[in-house]
């Protein structure tokens, strides 16, 4: 990719100077650690390897899909269709398994399908020039609809036990789910890509100013297209894992999951307008949301209250930086000159 001329610094300064000087994600990570410590002491049954396993298993798919979606949000775009890709891949996986194809063939086919679905989003955004919000609201409905065409309201559930037990199993009885290992590899790859390569810097540059990025020689359209393809493939992988984890291929699998992924990204300090944020914060955001839910469930907080709590948490996370920035500029203005 022709991105060797990317000019953006690793901590891009936005107009208004509202960025904290701390490394991106450190605030939310501190919150996460604090919450985990407090919950371990005050919530019965929270600190145990079994509970950690339950918690991580719920986070795996959210964190997985958050990886490519973070890159997309950093460039200033959005992909709302990710959960529908999960559902469609789950449905296709069920249909093909039912037809007698081997899983070893079905899984690559699903990933290929994910690439195609991502490419459709990407081409509509980059070639046709439509806003990604509009495109992916459309494909959110379209892909979910196709999932129901493929599998209807049936469920395919007779996947081999060896595969489904792996999906819920843990590494050597530690409580850490097997799926965490491949996830860590993907996290490492994404982190290096975003934070240690010219490509990563070019993503921030696009998010800050697409025109400036284009003038400095970045192939904006091509980069974005590949990001959407990556989101499709990774969501398809999430669909495969989801299907095996629950042992049930259904068209309505993971419905609404996109909101949880986006919530983790925003809570992690990634600006919805692009150009700022990092992977550490996103992962901490995903873990924080899941831990809060888990801890509140353990103390029998009803689920509607739980939704309110996560909603408030999210608003606070998005609003708080704005308020501090406002307070800071106000304070600066009131200081007497000289």
């Amino acid at each position: 990719m022709a991105v060797d001329t990317a000019p953006a610094p690793s901590a891009p300064a936005r107009a208004g100077g509202r960025r904290l000087t701390l490394p991106s994600g450190s605030v939310i990570s501190t919150f996460l650690v604090l919450f985990l410590v407090i919950a371990s002491f005050s919530v019965e049954n929270f600190a145990s390897s079994r509970n950690a396993g339950f918690l991580l298993l719920d986070v795996v798919v959210i964190a997985l899909i958050a990886l490519p979606l973070t890159l997309i949000v950093v460039t200033g775009e959005i992909d709302l269709s990710v959960a529908s890709v999960v559902g469609l891949c789950s449905a296709v996986m069920g249909r093909l398994w039912f037809a007698g194809l081997p899983l070893e063939l079905i899984i690559p086919l699903c990933l290929l399908l994910g690439a195609v679905l991502g490419a459709v989003n990407g081409l509509l955004v980059t070639k046709v020039g439509l806003p990604s919000l509009a495109v992916t609201i459309g494909s959110l409905a379209l892909y979910r609809g196709l999932a129901f065409v493929v599998l209807g309201d049936q469920a395919v559930a007779d996947f081999p036990r060896a595969w489904t037990t792996w999906a819920i199993g843990s590494i050597g009885g530690t409580g850490i789910p097997n799926a965490v290992l491949p996830l860590l590899v993907l996290i490492a790859v994404t982190a290096v890509l975003l934070h240690a390569t010219p490509i990563g810097r070019s993503l921030y540059a696009m998010g800050n100013s697409e025109d400036a990025a284009r003038f400095s020689g970045i192939d904006v359209a091509r980069t974005k297209l590949w990001l959407f393809v990556a989101a499709g493939v990774v969501s398809a992988l999430g669909g495969v894992f989801w299907t095996l984890r629950y042992g049930s291929a259904r068209a309505d699998n993971a419905a609404g999951l996109e909101l949880q992924v986006i919530a983790a990204i925003l809570l992690g300090g990634v600006s919805i307008f692009g150009g700022s944020g990092g992977l550490l914060g996103v992962l901490a955001g995903a873990l924080l949301l899941a831990s809060v839910r888990n801890a509140l469930q353990l103390v029998n907080v009803p689920s509607d209250v739980l939704n309110i709590v996560t909603g408030v948490l999210l608003i606070v996370a998005v609003v708080a930086p704005q308020v501090t920035a406002w307070a800071r500029t106000r304070a600066a203005r009131q200081r007497p000159p000289g």
């Binding site: 079994r50 339950f54 081997p102 063939l105 559930a157 091509r222 469930q297 353990l298 939704n307």
Partner: protein
């Protein structure tokens, strides 16, 4: 951008695809290769005389919260848990999805619940979570919607198809004096439950109430408007029609609405399966004399007692075992760990105000 599909890329892609297909073709994991693992079965033996210990933690996990049907069922469960001096809790997701139920099952496992009473959003997706809960010592009872039998100890079935069919034919026969033309207003043409009930209704009518002539079955597709129109059509096509049976809650309320505003009110009988809240006004205004449905409160009540009996060791879930369910009396475990609640409850002007669901 034209470089996106260069010959080189296409070639690489094709090569990878070919490789994958070849790998997969030489042996892979396909459907039907594996035999399902046999159920380990209950190891412990039952002691019918065991006392129910106090303080049992019995948790109800419905398909979703804020659903009136499950609110009533859970209230029945709560009453039963109070009677046996246990600790009742009701947890569950706000949306009816299997994955969020799994998260609640995990929480209950972690809390060490003695009994989990649940209605499954997906018969398979919550299985592995239930397995873990049982490995952690919980007894699992399903009600309303079952899981695969190997994932739970007992299933409390609301009613047998036979019981549902007979109740509706008996009600109709009583209301039209034992003879006359009757039509059926069903849900969709391929609705499994309704079709099974209709077959049983026909054979039971022929045998027990030969005066009843079932002239036709029409389908309202469980849509209010279509059911309404089908009712209208029935009355025009069959001028001598004495009664309509609608074995679906959507159908019966739409038919009642049509009848109550028409000249046929009080002349054409209507019965079937409905909820008291939907049907209250039509019972009060005389359009409908009586209809039936299982009582969700009794369903929850029985499920809680069944769970307590399991936790106490009175039963293990094996066929033929019996247990006491408070005011509902004695129940016997049937094949596949099923317990049937009993005949549907009949609602009429005398008792409809006692129910709120």
């Amino acid at each position: 951008m034209t470089s996106f599909l260069t010959a080189r890329r296409l070639l690489t892609g094709t090569a990878i695809a070919a490789l994958v297909v070849t790998t997969a073709a030489c042996g892979g994991t396909t459907r039907g290769e594996e035999e399902t693992a046999a159920d380990a079965g209950a190891g412990a033996s039952a002691n019918p005389d065991a006392d129910i210990p106090s303080g049992l933690a019995i948790a109800f996990l419905p398909k979703q919260l804020n659903n009136p049907y499950f609110a009533v069922a859970d209230a029945g469960g709560e009453r039963a848990v109070q009677e046996i001096d246990g600790e009742f809790s009701e947890v569950g997701p706000t949306e009816a999805s299997a994955s969020s139920q799994v998260s609640y099952i995990n929480t209950l496992t972690q809390q060490g619940a003695d009994v989990i009473v649940t209605s499954a959003n997906d018969p398979n997706a919550i299985c592995s979570a239930l397995d873990q809960a049982r490995a952690g010592g919980a007894n699992v009872v399903t009600f309303d919607s079952d899981t695969s039998p190997e994932c739970r100890d007992l299933f409390i079935n609301q009613a047998t198809p036979q019981g549902i069919a007979e109740a509706q034919i008996d009600l109709m026969s009583e209301q039209i004096g034992g003879s006359g033309q009757v039509a059926i207003l069903s849900a969709t043409a391929n609705a499994t439950n309704q079709n099974a009930w209709i077959e049983l209704m026909k054979s039971y009518a022929a045998e027990a109430h030969p005066g009843l002539e079932i002239v036709t079955t029409v389908y309202g597709d469980d849509e209010d408007e279509k059911s309404f129109q089908e009712t209208q059509g029935l009355l025009q096509t069959y001028p001598d029609l004495k009664g309509i049976i609608s074995p679906t809650t959507v159908g019966i309320s739409a038919a009642a609405r049509y009848l109550s505003g028409s000249e046929y009110k009080g002349r054409v009988a209507l019965t079937g399966l409905g909820t008291p809240n939907q049907m209250r006004e039509f019972v009060k205004d005389g359009t409908v004399t009586a209809f039936a449905l299982w009582n969700p409160e009794d369903l929850g009540y029985l499920a809680a007692y069944a769970g307590a009996a399991l936790a106490a060791g009175q039963i293990t879930g094996a066929e033929g075992e019996t247990f006491e369910a408070g005011e509902l009396g004695e129940y016997t475990v049937g094949a596949d760990g099923e317990v049937v609640l009993g005949d549907p409850t009949v609602f009429n002007a005398d008792n409809i105000d006692d129910f709120d669901f």
